[in-house]
Protein backbone atom coordinates (compact mmCIF):
# COMPACT_ATOMS: atom_id res chain seq x y z
CA UNK A 1 0.00 0.00 0.00
CA UNK A 2 1.31 3.38 -0.97
CA UNK A 3 1.65 5.87 1.84
CA UNK A 4 -1.13 8.25 2.64
CA UNK A 5 -0.33 11.91 2.25
CA UNK A 6 -2.32 14.98 3.09
CA UNK A 7 -3.12 16.90 -0.05
CA UNK A 8 -5.39 19.62 -1.28
CA UNK A 9 -7.98 18.35 -3.72
CA UNK A 10 -6.75 20.72 -6.39
CA UNK A 11 -3.20 19.48 -6.06
CA UNK A 12 -4.07 15.85 -5.64
CA UNK A 13 -5.96 15.90 -8.89
CA UNK A 14 -2.92 17.28 -10.65
CA UNK A 15 -0.71 14.59 -9.22
CA UNK A 16 -3.27 11.95 -10.10
CA UNK A 17 -3.34 13.15 -13.69
CA UNK A 18 0.42 12.79 -13.87
CA UNK A 19 0.12 9.28 -12.48
CA UNK A 20 -2.47 8.53 -15.14
CA UNK A 21 -0.07 9.54 -17.88
CA UNK A 22 -1.48 12.96 -18.63
CA UNK A 23 0.93 14.37 -21.19
CA UNK A 24 -0.39 17.91 -21.57
CA UNK A 25 -2.25 20.32 -19.30
CA UNK A 26 -3.80 23.51 -20.63
CA UNK A 27 -5.48 25.87 -18.23
CA UNK A 28 -6.42 29.39 -17.37
CA UNK A 29 -6.53 30.69 -13.79
CA UNK A 30 -9.83 30.93 -12.02
CA UNK A 31 -10.80 30.61 -8.38
CA UNK A 32 -11.36 28.12 -6.78
CA UNK A 33 -9.25 25.81 -8.93
CA UNK A 34 -6.17 27.89 -9.67
CA UNK A 35 -4.03 25.54 -7.60
CA UNK A 36 -4.49 22.83 -10.21
CA UNK A 37 -2.65 24.92 -12.78
CA UNK A 38 -0.13 26.13 -10.23
CA UNK A 39 0.62 22.54 -9.26
CA UNK A 40 0.91 21.44 -12.86
CA UNK A 41 3.23 24.33 -13.67
CA UNK A 42 5.58 23.07 -10.99
CA UNK A 43 5.35 19.37 -11.70
CA UNK A 44 4.83 18.87 -15.42
CA UNK A 45 8.18 20.29 -16.55
CA UNK A 46 9.88 18.12 -13.93
CA UNK A 47 8.45 14.99 -15.51
CA UNK A 48 9.09 16.15 -19.05
CA UNK A 49 5.50 16.91 -19.86
CA UNK A 50 3.65 19.98 -21.02
CA UNK A 51 2.12 22.69 -18.89
CA UNK A 52 0.80 25.69 -20.75
CA UNK A 53 -1.21 28.58 -19.42
CA UNK A 54 -3.50 29.50 -22.28
CA UNK A 55 -4.63 33.03 -23.03
CA UNK A 56 -8.22 32.09 -22.17
CA UNK A 57 -10.51 29.18 -21.47
CA UNK A 58 -11.55 29.20 -25.11
CA UNK A 59 -7.95 28.77 -26.20
CA UNK A 60 -7.33 26.16 -23.51
CA UNK A 61 -10.14 23.88 -24.63
CA UNK A 62 -9.05 24.19 -28.24
CA UNK A 63 -5.50 23.31 -27.26
CA UNK A 64 -7.02 20.26 -25.62
CA UNK A 65 -8.74 19.50 -28.92
CA UNK A 66 -5.38 19.73 -30.66
CA UNK A 67 -3.47 17.55 -28.22
CA UNK A 68 -6.28 15.02 -27.84
CA UNK A 69 -6.51 14.68 -31.60
CA UNK A 70 -2.82 13.90 -31.67
CA UNK A 71 -3.49 10.97 -29.38
CA UNK A 72 -2.00 12.05 -26.07
CA UNK A 73 -3.72 12.18 -22.71
CA UNK A 74 -4.67 15.75 -21.98
CA UNK A 75 -6.53 17.58 -19.26
CA UNK A 76 -7.91 21.03 -18.63
CA UNK A 77 -9.41 22.55 -15.57
CA UNK A 78 -11.62 25.50 -14.82
CA UNK A 79 -14.57 26.74 -12.83
CA UNK A 80 -18.09 27.67 -13.84
CA UNK A 81 -17.73 30.82 -16.00
CA UNK A 82 -14.68 29.30 -17.61
CA UNK A 83 -16.57 26.12 -18.38
CA UNK A 84 -19.29 28.16 -20.06
CA UNK A 85 -16.64 29.61 -22.33
CA UNK A 86 -15.52 26.12 -23.20
CA UNK A 87 -18.98 25.07 -24.32
CA UNK A 88 -18.29 25.35 -28.03
CA UNK A 89 -14.97 23.58 -27.73
CA UNK A 90 -16.45 20.76 -25.67
CA UNK A 91 -19.14 20.26 -28.28
CA UNK A 92 -16.41 20.04 -30.94
CA UNK A 93 -14.46 17.54 -28.88
CA UNK A 94 -17.54 15.40 -28.40
CA UNK A 95 -18.41 15.74 -32.08
CA UNK A 96 -14.91 14.78 -33.20
CA UNK A 97 -14.89 11.95 -30.65
CA UNK A 98 -11.75 12.97 -28.84
CA UNK A 99 -10.84 11.67 -25.40
CA UNK A 100 -9.92 14.19 -22.74
CA UNK A 101 -10.56 15.06 -19.12
CA UNK A 102 -12.19 18.32 -18.10
CA UNK A 103 -12.29 19.40 -14.50
CA UNK A 104 -14.95 21.78 -13.22
CA UNK A 105 -14.54 23.02 -9.66
CA UNK A 106 -17.94 24.60 -9.47
CA UNK A 107 -18.56 27.99 -7.87
CA UNK A 108 -21.75 29.92 -7.29
CA UNK A 109 -23.43 31.48 -10.32
CA UNK A 110 -24.95 32.79 -12.49
CA UNK A 111 -22.69 35.40 -14.05
CA UNK A 112 -19.60 36.27 -12.10
CA UNK A 113 -21.51 35.01 -9.05
CA UNK A 114 -19.21 34.09 -6.21
CA UNK A 115 -16.33 31.79 -5.53
CA UNK A 116 -17.74 29.59 -2.80
CA UNK A 117 -18.77 25.94 -3.34
CA UNK A 118 -21.84 25.18 -5.42
CA UNK A 119 -23.37 22.51 -7.61
CA UNK A 120 -25.25 24.78 -9.92
CA UNK A 121 -23.55 23.56 -13.08
CA UNK A 122 -25.30 20.21 -12.93
CA UNK A 123 -27.54 20.94 -15.90
CA UNK A 124 -24.66 22.35 -17.89
CA UNK A 125 -22.60 19.24 -17.27
CA UNK A 126 -25.23 16.58 -17.71
CA UNK A 127 -27.58 17.97 -20.31
CA UNK A 128 -25.00 19.45 -22.59
CA UNK A 129 -23.89 23.03 -22.06
CA UNK A 130 -22.88 23.22 -25.69
CA UNK A 131 -25.01 22.80 -28.78
CA UNK A 132 -26.03 19.54 -30.37
CA UNK A 133 -26.79 16.04 -29.19
CA UNK A 134 -23.79 15.02 -27.17
CA UNK A 135 -23.08 13.79 -23.68
CA UNK A 136 -20.23 14.12 -21.27
CA UNK A 137 -19.47 11.35 -18.86
CA UNK A 138 -19.61 13.24 -15.56
CA UNK A 139 -17.91 11.89 -12.44
CA UNK A 140 -18.65 13.48 -9.08
CA UNK A 141 -16.09 12.59 -6.42
CA UNK A 142 -16.92 13.27 -2.80
CA UNK A 143 -13.47 13.09 -1.27
CA UNK A 144 -9.95 13.95 -2.23
CA UNK A 145 -9.21 10.23 -2.52
CA UNK A 146 -12.04 9.82 -4.98
CA UNK A 147 -10.79 12.79 -6.93
CA UNK A 148 -7.51 11.00 -7.30
CA UNK A 149 -9.07 7.66 -8.20
CA UNK A 150 -11.55 9.15 -10.62
CA UNK A 151 -8.91 10.97 -12.59
CA UNK A 152 -7.43 7.66 -13.60
CA UNK A 153 -10.89 6.27 -14.34
CA UNK A 154 -11.73 9.37 -16.33
CA UNK A 155 -8.74 8.99 -18.62
CA UNK A 156 -9.54 5.33 -19.13
CA UNK A 157 -13.19 5.96 -19.92
CA UNK A 158 -12.25 8.80 -22.22
CA UNK A 159 -9.85 6.63 -24.16
CA UNK A 160 -12.10 3.61 -24.23
CA UNK A 161 -15.04 5.45 -25.74
CA UNK A 162 -13.26 8.34 -27.44
CA UNK A 163 -15.28 10.80 -25.45
CA UNK A 164 -14.69 13.78 -23.18
CA UNK A 165 -15.10 13.07 -19.47
CA UNK A 166 -15.82 15.72 -16.89
CA UNK A 167 -14.92 15.57 -13.25
CA UNK A 168 -17.15 17.86 -11.30
CA UNK A 169 -16.21 18.98 -7.84
CA UNK A 170 -16.83 22.05 -5.80
CA UNK A 171 -14.70 24.62 -4.05
CA UNK A 172 -14.70 22.56 -0.88
CA UNK A 173 -13.29 19.54 -2.57
CA UNK A 174 -10.72 21.59 -4.41
CA UNK A 175 -9.51 23.50 -1.37
CA UNK A 176 -9.67 20.89 1.37
CA UNK A 177 -6.84 18.62 2.41
CA UNK A 178 -7.50 14.98 3.14
CA UNK A 179 -5.27 11.94 3.28
CA UNK A 180 -4.82 10.35 -0.10
CA UNK A 181 -3.08 7.37 -1.46
CA UNK A 182 -1.83 7.07 -5.01
CA UNK A 183 -2.50 3.43 -5.67
CA UNK A 184 -0.64 1.75 -8.43
CA UNK A 185 -3.32 0.37 -10.64
CA UNK A 186 -3.11 -2.24 -13.36
CA UNK A 187 -3.02 -0.74 -16.83
CA UNK A 188 -6.29 -1.18 -18.65
CA UNK A 189 -6.53 -2.73 -22.05
CA UNK A 190 -7.46 0.19 -24.21
CA UNK A 191 -7.92 0.45 -27.95
CA UNK A 192 -4.97 1.80 -29.86
CA UNK A 193 -5.41 5.33 -31.12
CA UNK A 194 -5.11 4.55 -34.79
CA UNK A 195 -7.30 7.53 -35.55
CA UNK A 196 -4.86 10.06 -34.09
CA UNK A 197 -3.66 12.81 -36.38
CA UNK A 198 -0.04 13.00 -35.33
CA UNK A 199 1.66 12.88 -38.70
CA UNK A 200 1.53 10.16 -41.32
CA UNK A 201 4.86 8.62 -40.28
CA UNK A 202 4.50 6.03 -42.98
CA UNK A 203 0.74 5.58 -42.62
CA UNK A 204 -1.06 5.41 -45.99
CA UNK A 205 -4.21 7.43 -45.48
CA UNK A 206 -4.21 10.74 -43.68
CA UNK A 207 -6.16 10.96 -40.45
CA UNK A 208 -8.65 13.77 -40.06
CA UNK A 209 -10.00 15.19 -36.82
CA UNK A 210 -13.32 16.70 -37.67
CA UNK A 211 -16.91 17.30 -36.65
CA UNK A 212 -18.26 18.73 -39.90
CA UNK A 213 -20.71 16.66 -41.91
CA UNK A 214 -22.36 18.86 -44.48
CA UNK A 215 -24.74 16.19 -45.73
CA UNK A 216 -27.60 15.68 -43.30
CA UNK A 217 -27.59 11.96 -43.98
CA UNK A 218 -23.98 11.76 -42.90
CA UNK A 219 -24.43 13.98 -39.89
CA UNK A 220 -27.39 11.91 -38.80
CA UNK A 221 -25.40 8.71 -39.21
CA UNK A 222 -22.63 10.27 -37.16
CA UNK A 223 -25.13 11.27 -34.50
CA UNK A 224 -26.59 7.80 -34.44
CA UNK A 225 -23.12 6.43 -33.91
CA UNK A 226 -22.60 8.82 -31.02
CA UNK A 227 -25.94 7.83 -29.53
CA UNK A 228 -25.03 4.16 -29.74
CA UNK A 229 -21.85 4.92 -27.91
CA UNK A 230 -23.81 6.75 -25.24
CA UNK A 231 -26.13 3.75 -24.84
CA UNK A 232 -23.04 1.60 -24.42
CA UNK A 233 -21.71 3.93 -21.74
CA UNK A 234 -25.06 3.89 -19.99
CA UNK A 235 -24.82 0.13 -19.92
CA UNK A 236 -21.26 -0.12 -18.64
CA UNK A 237 -20.26 2.91 -16.69
CA UNK A 238 -23.04 3.78 -14.28
CA UNK A 239 -21.68 4.25 -10.77
CA UNK A 240 -23.32 5.10 -7.50
CA UNK A 241 -23.18 4.44 -3.80
CA UNK A 242 -26.08 3.19 -1.70
CA UNK A 243 -25.79 4.14 1.94
CA UNK A 244 -28.07 2.83 4.66
CA UNK A 245 -30.49 1.52 2.06
CA UNK A 246 -30.86 -2.06 3.24
CA UNK A 247 -33.95 -1.79 5.37
CA UNK A 248 -37.27 -0.08 5.07
CA UNK A 249 -36.70 3.65 5.00
CA UNK A 250 -38.69 6.71 5.83
CA UNK A 251 -37.07 8.63 3.02
CA UNK A 252 -34.16 8.36 0.62
CA UNK A 253 -31.82 11.29 0.11
CA UNK A 254 -30.25 11.72 -3.29
CA UNK A 255 -27.10 13.79 -3.17
CA UNK A 256 -23.65 13.83 -4.73
CA UNK A 257 -20.19 15.19 -4.12
CA UNK A 258 -19.10 16.57 -0.77
CA UNK A 259 -22.71 17.33 -0.03
CA UNK A 260 -23.45 13.61 0.08
CA UNK A 261 -21.04 13.35 3.00
CA UNK A 262 -22.92 16.03 4.83
CA UNK A 263 -26.10 14.13 4.13
CA UNK A 264 -24.59 11.05 5.74
CA UNK A 265 -24.06 13.06 8.90
CA UNK A 266 -27.67 14.14 8.72
CA UNK A 267 -28.68 10.49 8.37
CA UNK A 268 -26.73 9.63 11.48
CA UNK A 269 -28.40 12.46 13.37
CA UNK A 270 -31.81 11.27 12.26
CA UNK A 271 -31.09 7.70 13.17
CA UNK A 272 -30.64 8.79 16.75
CA UNK A 273 -34.14 10.21 16.57
CA UNK A 274 -35.49 6.97 15.18
CA UNK A 275 -35.85 8.18 11.62
CA UNK A 276 -34.32 5.86 9.07
CA UNK A 277 -33.13 7.58 5.96
CA UNK A 278 -31.14 6.12 3.09
CA UNK A 279 -28.87 7.78 0.58
CA UNK A 280 -28.34 7.32 -3.12
CA UNK A 281 -25.10 9.00 -4.08
CA UNK A 282 -24.80 9.21 -7.84
CA UNK A 283 -21.13 8.98 -8.75
CA UNK A 284 -21.73 9.24 -12.45
CA UNK A 285 -24.06 12.19 -12.91
CA UNK A 286 -24.27 11.07 -16.49
CA UNK A 287 -24.99 8.25 -17.09
CA UNK A 288 -27.45 8.74 -14.27
CA UNK A 289 -27.82 5.73 -11.95
CA UNK A 290 -31.47 5.01 -12.63
CA UNK A 291 -31.07 1.42 -11.46
CA UNK A 292 -30.26 2.62 -7.95
CA UNK A 293 -33.74 4.03 -7.74
CA UNK A 294 -35.30 0.81 -8.92
CA UNK A 295 -33.53 -0.95 -6.08
CA UNK A 296 -34.87 1.25 -3.31
CA UNK A 297 -38.12 2.67 -4.60
CA UNK A 298 -40.23 0.02 -2.88
CA UNK A 299 -38.47 0.43 0.42
CA UNK A 300 -39.00 4.12 0.96
CA UNK A 301 -42.11 5.35 2.64
CA UNK A 302 -42.05 9.03 1.78
CA UNK A 303 -40.15 8.76 -1.43
CA UNK A 304 -37.04 10.74 -2.23
CA UNK A 305 -35.45 14.09 -1.56
CA UNK A 306 -32.87 15.61 -3.81
CA UNK A 307 -30.47 17.63 -1.70
CA UNK A 308 -28.39 20.02 -3.76
CA UNK A 309 -26.22 23.08 -3.61
CA UNK A 310 -28.33 24.50 -6.42
CA UNK A 311 -31.87 25.69 -6.92
CA UNK A 312 -33.22 22.39 -8.20
CA UNK A 313 -31.32 20.77 -11.03
CA UNK A 314 -30.58 17.13 -10.26
CA UNK A 315 -34.09 16.84 -8.88
CA UNK A 316 -35.26 16.52 -12.48
CA UNK A 317 -33.14 13.43 -12.99
CA UNK A 318 -34.48 12.07 -9.73
CA UNK A 319 -38.02 12.62 -10.98
CA UNK A 320 -37.17 10.98 -14.27
CA UNK A 321 -35.73 7.99 -12.47
CA UNK A 322 -38.64 7.70 -10.04
CA UNK A 323 -41.16 8.37 -12.80
CA UNK A 324 -44.09 9.01 -10.51
CA UNK A 325 -43.68 5.89 -8.41
CA UNK A 326 -43.05 7.83 -5.22
CA UNK A 327 -43.06 11.50 -4.25
CA UNK A 328 -39.92 13.49 -4.95
CA UNK A 329 -38.93 16.35 -2.67
CA UNK A 330 -36.23 18.93 -2.95
CA UNK A 331 -33.95 20.82 -0.65
CA UNK A 332 -31.32 23.18 -1.92
CA UNK A 333 -29.03 26.00 -0.93
CA UNK A 334 -27.18 28.12 -3.41
CA UNK A 335 -24.61 30.78 -4.01
CA UNK A 336 -21.92 29.16 -1.90
CA UNK A 337 -24.09 28.34 1.09
CA UNK A 338 -23.33 24.82 2.28
CA UNK A 339 -26.20 23.08 4.06
CA UNK A 340 -25.46 21.72 7.53
CA UNK A 341 -26.47 18.22 8.63
CA UNK A 342 -28.89 19.80 11.07
CA UNK A 343 -30.79 21.78 8.49
CA UNK A 344 -31.03 18.79 6.20
CA UNK A 345 -32.27 16.68 9.08
CA UNK A 346 -34.82 19.33 9.90
CA UNK A 347 -36.11 19.49 6.38
CA UNK A 348 -36.47 15.73 6.40
CA UNK A 349 -38.33 15.75 9.67
CA UNK A 350 -40.72 18.16 8.08
CA UNK A 351 -41.42 15.61 5.39
CA UNK A 352 -41.56 12.38 7.35
CA UNK A 353 -43.41 14.01 10.23
CA UNK A 354 -40.88 14.35 13.00
CA UNK A 355 -39.47 11.70 15.29
CA UNK A 356 -41.35 8.46 15.79
Amino acid sequence: MAQKVLMKGNEAIGEAAIHAGCQCFFGYPITPQTEVAAYMSRRMPKVGRVFLQAESEVAAINMVYGAAGAGVRVMTSSSSPGISLKAEGISYIAGAELPCVILNIVRGGPGLGGIQPAQSDYFQATKGGGHGDYKLVVLAPSSVQEMVDFVQDAFDIADKYRTPVMIMGDGMLGQMMEPVEFKERPKKELPEKTWAANGLRGREKHNVINSLFLKPEELEAHNNKLQEKYREIEKNEVRYELYNCDEEMDLVIVSYGTLARICKNAIKMLKKEGINVGLIRPITLWPYPVEAFDKVVDKTKHGFISVEMSCGQMVEDVQLAVNGRKPVHFYGRSGGMVPTPAEIANKIKGIVGGAK
Binding site: E55, A59, G66, V72, N198, H206, N210, L212
Partner: protein, 250 residues
Protein backbone atom coordinates in the same frame (compact mmCIF):
# COMPACT_ATOMS: atom_id res chain seq x y z
CA UNK B 1 9.70 15.58 -72.67
CA UNK B 2 10.33 16.69 -69.13
CA UNK B 3 7.62 17.78 -66.78
CA UNK B 4 7.85 21.48 -66.03
CA UNK B 5 4.82 21.59 -63.81
CA UNK B 6 2.54 19.02 -62.24
CA UNK B 7 0.39 18.66 -59.19
CA UNK B 8 2.20 18.35 -55.90
CA UNK B 9 1.86 15.09 -53.98
CA UNK B 10 0.89 16.79 -50.76
CA UNK B 11 -2.32 17.80 -52.47
CA UNK B 12 -4.77 14.95 -52.85
CA UNK B 13 -6.03 14.34 -56.34
CA UNK B 14 -9.60 15.43 -55.74
CA UNK B 15 -11.68 18.28 -57.10
CA UNK B 16 -12.17 21.17 -54.67
CA UNK B 17 -15.42 22.85 -53.83
CA UNK B 18 -14.03 26.33 -54.39
CA UNK B 19 -15.77 28.72 -56.73
CA UNK B 20 -14.31 29.13 -60.22
CA UNK B 21 -11.20 31.27 -60.04
CA UNK B 22 -10.99 31.29 -56.25
CA UNK B 23 -7.33 31.61 -55.35
CA UNK B 24 -7.76 29.50 -52.23
CA UNK B 25 -6.89 26.77 -54.73
CA UNK B 26 -3.64 28.45 -55.70
CA UNK B 27 -2.63 28.94 -52.08
CA UNK B 28 -3.41 25.32 -51.27
CA UNK B 29 -1.19 24.26 -54.08
CA UNK B 30 1.67 26.48 -52.95
CA UNK B 31 1.54 25.04 -49.46
CA UNK B 32 1.51 21.53 -50.90
CA UNK B 33 4.45 22.30 -53.17
CA UNK B 34 6.43 23.57 -50.21
CA UNK B 35 5.61 20.46 -48.19
CA UNK B 36 6.80 18.36 -51.12
CA UNK B 37 9.96 20.32 -51.62
CA UNK B 38 10.87 20.21 -47.94
CA UNK B 39 10.05 16.52 -47.82
CA UNK B 40 7.99 16.89 -44.66
CA UNK B 41 4.71 15.31 -45.67
CA UNK B 42 5.22 12.52 -43.18
CA UNK B 43 5.36 14.76 -40.17
CA UNK B 44 3.22 17.67 -41.23
CA UNK B 45 -0.14 18.29 -39.59
CA UNK B 46 -2.46 20.92 -40.98
CA UNK B 47 -5.29 22.75 -39.29
CA UNK B 48 -8.20 23.91 -41.41
CA UNK B 49 -10.34 26.83 -40.26
CA UNK B 50 -14.04 27.49 -40.46
CA UNK B 51 -14.44 29.43 -43.66
CA UNK B 52 -14.41 28.53 -47.32
CA UNK B 53 -11.30 26.50 -46.72
CA UNK B 54 -13.02 24.40 -44.07
CA UNK B 55 -12.78 21.36 -46.32
CA UNK B 56 -9.02 21.78 -46.73
CA UNK B 57 -8.82 18.66 -44.60
CA UNK B 58 -10.05 16.74 -47.63
CA UNK B 59 -7.45 18.25 -49.92
CA UNK B 60 -4.12 18.00 -48.13
CA UNK B 61 -2.46 14.62 -48.00
CA UNK B 62 -0.98 15.15 -44.54
CA UNK B 63 -2.86 14.55 -41.30
CA UNK B 64 -5.45 17.25 -40.84
CA UNK B 65 -7.69 18.88 -38.27
CA UNK B 66 -10.79 20.94 -38.68
CA UNK B 67 -10.68 23.61 -35.95
CA UNK B 68 -13.47 25.67 -34.43
CA UNK B 69 -13.93 29.10 -36.00
CA UNK B 70 -10.89 31.21 -35.19
CA UNK B 71 -9.24 28.68 -32.91
CA UNK B 72 -6.82 27.07 -35.35
CA UNK B 73 -3.76 28.61 -33.64
CA UNK B 74 -4.86 27.17 -30.28
CA UNK B 75 -5.49 23.79 -31.87
CA UNK B 76 -2.12 23.97 -33.58
CA UNK B 77 -0.52 24.82 -30.26
CA UNK B 78 -2.07 21.76 -28.69
CA UNK B 79 -0.79 19.59 -31.51
CA UNK B 80 2.71 21.02 -31.55
CA UNK B 81 3.08 20.72 -27.80
CA UNK B 82 1.84 17.14 -27.89
CA UNK B 83 4.00 16.17 -30.87
CA UNK B 84 6.99 18.50 -30.79
CA UNK B 85 8.73 16.92 -33.76
CA UNK B 86 5.82 17.57 -36.11
CA UNK B 87 5.44 20.45 -38.52
CA UNK B 88 2.17 22.20 -37.86
CA UNK B 89 0.48 24.80 -40.00
CA UNK B 90 -2.81 26.61 -39.79
CA UNK B 91 -4.66 27.80 -42.84
CA UNK B 92 -7.06 30.60 -41.96
CA UNK B 93 -9.30 33.19 -43.55
CA UNK B 94 -9.62 36.78 -42.45
CA UNK B 95 -12.88 36.32 -40.62
CA UNK B 96 -11.43 33.34 -38.87
CA UNK B 97 -8.06 34.84 -37.97
CA UNK B 98 -8.65 38.57 -37.77
CA UNK B 99 -12.10 38.64 -36.18
CA UNK B 100 -13.18 35.82 -33.89
CA UNK B 101 -9.69 34.36 -33.68
CA UNK B 102 -7.78 37.54 -32.87
CA UNK B 103 -6.75 36.47 -29.38
CA UNK B 104 -5.61 33.03 -30.50
CA UNK B 105 -3.37 34.24 -33.31
CA UNK B 106 -1.84 37.04 -31.25
CA UNK B 107 -1.02 34.74 -28.39
CA UNK B 108 0.33 31.98 -30.59
CA UNK B 109 2.61 34.62 -32.09
CA UNK B 110 3.51 36.13 -28.73
CA UNK B 111 4.36 32.70 -27.39
CA UNK B 112 6.63 32.17 -30.35
CA UNK B 113 4.70 28.98 -30.95
CA UNK B 114 6.64 26.91 -33.45
CA UNK B 115 3.89 26.78 -36.02
CA UNK B 116 3.28 28.38 -39.40
CA UNK B 117 0.15 30.30 -40.26
CA UNK B 118 -1.09 30.82 -43.79
CA UNK B 119 -3.45 33.74 -43.52
CA UNK B 120 -5.73 34.20 -46.52
CA UNK B 121 -6.94 37.78 -46.69
CA UNK B 122 -9.75 38.19 -49.20
CA UNK B 123 -11.30 41.21 -47.51
CA UNK B 124 -14.58 39.42 -46.93
CA UNK B 125 -16.32 36.48 -45.28
CA UNK B 126 -16.59 34.04 -48.16
CA UNK B 127 -18.24 30.99 -46.69
CA UNK B 128 -21.20 32.72 -45.12
CA UNK B 129 -21.97 34.71 -48.23
CA UNK B 130 -20.00 37.89 -48.27
CA UNK B 131 -20.23 39.78 -45.00
CA UNK B 132 -17.83 42.46 -43.90
CA UNK B 133 -14.52 41.20 -42.54
CA UNK B 134 -12.08 43.09 -40.32
CA UNK B 135 -10.03 43.40 -43.50
CA UNK B 136 -12.83 44.79 -45.66
CA UNK B 137 -11.64 48.04 -47.24
CA UNK B 138 -13.18 51.40 -46.37
CA UNK B 139 -16.15 51.97 -48.63
CA UNK B 140 -16.29 48.35 -49.75
CA UNK B 141 -19.84 47.05 -50.18
CA UNK B 142 -20.59 43.72 -48.53
CA UNK B 143 -23.69 41.98 -47.29
CA UNK B 144 -23.37 43.63 -43.90
CA UNK B 145 -21.93 46.92 -45.10
CA UNK B 146 -24.52 47.48 -47.82
CA UNK B 147 -23.76 51.18 -48.06
CA UNK B 148 -20.03 50.60 -48.15
CA UNK B 149 -17.89 50.12 -45.05
CA UNK B 150 -18.28 53.29 -43.07
CA UNK B 151 -15.17 53.70 -40.97
CA UNK B 152 -17.08 55.97 -38.59
CA UNK B 153 -19.28 53.14 -37.39
CA UNK B 154 -17.60 49.97 -38.62
CA UNK B 155 -14.04 51.05 -38.02
CA UNK B 156 -10.86 50.54 -39.94
CA UNK B 157 -9.36 47.44 -41.53
CA UNK B 158 -6.71 45.65 -39.52
CA UNK B 159 -3.30 45.12 -41.05
CA UNK B 160 -2.64 41.76 -39.52
CA UNK B 161 0.94 41.27 -40.68
CA UNK B 162 1.96 44.62 -39.25
CA UNK B 163 0.17 44.00 -35.98
CA UNK B 164 1.68 40.55 -35.51
CA UNK B 165 5.10 41.98 -36.26
CA UNK B 166 4.99 43.96 -33.01
CA UNK B 167 5.20 40.70 -31.07
CA UNK B 168 8.56 39.38 -29.97
CA UNK B 169 7.58 35.76 -30.53
CA UNK B 170 6.82 36.32 -34.21
CA UNK B 171 9.98 35.46 -36.11
CA UNK B 172 8.93 35.78 -39.70
CA UNK B 173 6.00 37.73 -41.08
CA UNK B 174 5.44 38.54 -44.73
CA UNK B 175 2.56 39.73 -46.86
CA UNK B 176 2.25 38.34 -50.38
CA UNK B 177 -0.36 38.17 -53.09
CA UNK B 178 -1.49 35.62 -55.65
CA UNK B 179 -2.88 38.04 -58.20
CA UNK B 180 -0.17 37.39 -60.78
CA UNK B 181 2.35 34.76 -61.68
CA UNK B 182 5.36 36.72 -60.38
CA UNK B 183 3.52 37.34 -57.11
CA UNK B 184 2.58 33.69 -56.89
CA UNK B 185 6.23 32.78 -57.18
CA UNK B 186 7.09 35.22 -54.41
CA UNK B 187 4.24 33.90 -52.31
CA UNK B 188 5.64 30.42 -52.55
CA UNK B 189 9.06 31.61 -51.47
CA UNK B 190 7.53 33.26 -48.44
CA UNK B 191 5.58 30.15 -47.51
CA UNK B 192 8.69 28.06 -47.86
CA UNK B 193 10.66 30.41 -45.67
CA UNK B 194 7.89 30.33 -43.07
CA UNK B 195 8.01 26.55 -42.91
CA UNK B 196 11.79 26.62 -42.73
CA UNK B 197 11.63 28.94 -39.75
CA UNK B 198 9.49 26.34 -38.03
CA UNK B 199 11.79 23.50 -39.02
CA UNK B 200 14.66 25.43 -37.51
CA UNK B 201 12.66 25.75 -34.28
CA UNK B 202 12.95 29.53 -34.31
CA UNK B 203 9.39 30.48 -33.47
CA UNK B 204 6.19 31.67 -35.03
CA UNK B 205 5.87 32.46 -38.71
CA UNK B 206 2.98 33.92 -40.65
CA UNK B 207 2.38 34.60 -44.31
CA UNK B 208 -0.54 36.86 -45.15
CA UNK B 209 -1.74 36.10 -48.65
CA UNK B 210 -3.98 38.56 -50.47
CA UNK B 211 -6.57 36.47 -52.26
CA UNK B 212 -9.68 36.97 -54.36
CA UNK B 213 -13.31 36.08 -53.76
CA UNK B 214 -14.99 36.54 -57.15
CA UNK B 215 -18.29 35.19 -55.89
CA UNK B 216 -18.77 37.63 -53.08
CA UNK B 217 -17.00 40.52 -54.70
CA UNK B 218 -19.43 40.14 -57.58
CA UNK B 219 -16.65 40.23 -60.12
CA UNK B 220 -15.24 37.77 -62.61
CA UNK B 221 -12.00 36.09 -61.62
CA UNK B 222 -9.99 38.27 -63.93
CA UNK B 223 -11.74 41.42 -62.73
CA UNK B 224 -11.08 40.24 -59.22
CA UNK B 225 -7.33 39.97 -59.56
CA UNK B 226 -7.37 43.46 -60.96
CA UNK B 227 -9.46 44.71 -58.05
CA UNK B 228 -7.07 43.11 -55.64
CA UNK B 229 -4.14 44.77 -57.34
CA UNK B 230 -5.76 48.19 -57.53
CA UNK B 231 -7.42 48.29 -54.13
CA UNK B 232 -6.00 45.78 -51.71
CA UNK B 233 -2.30 46.06 -52.36
CA UNK B 234 -2.21 49.82 -51.75
CA UNK B 235 -3.90 49.27 -48.39
CA UNK B 236 -2.00 46.11 -47.57
CA UNK B 237 1.53 46.67 -48.81
CA UNK B 238 3.35 43.51 -49.83
CA UNK B 239 6.70 42.45 -48.46
CA UNK B 240 8.51 41.12 -45.46
CA UNK B 241 7.15 42.78 -42.33
CA UNK B 242 9.47 41.13 -39.93
CA UNK B 243 12.37 38.75 -40.20
CA UNK B 244 13.99 38.17 -36.85
CA UNK B 245 16.57 35.92 -38.52
CA UNK B 246 18.00 39.03 -40.16
CA UNK B 247 16.81 41.48 -37.54
CA UNK B 248 14.58 43.09 -40.14
CA UNK B 249 11.40 44.78 -38.97
CA UNK B 250 9.59 46.98 -41.41
Amino acid sequence: MTVVFDRPKALLDVPTHYCPGCTHGVIHRLVAEVIDELGILDKTIGVAPVGCSVLAYDYFACDMYEAAHGRAPAVATGIKRAVPDSVVFTYQGDGDLAAIGTAEIIHAAARGEKITTIFVNNAIYGMTGGQMAPTTLPGQVTETSPYGRDVKTAGYPIRVAEMISTLDGAVYVERVSVDSVPNIIKAKKAIKKAFEIQLQGLGFSLVEVLSICPTNWGLSPNESVKWLRDNMIPYYPLGVKKDATTGEVK
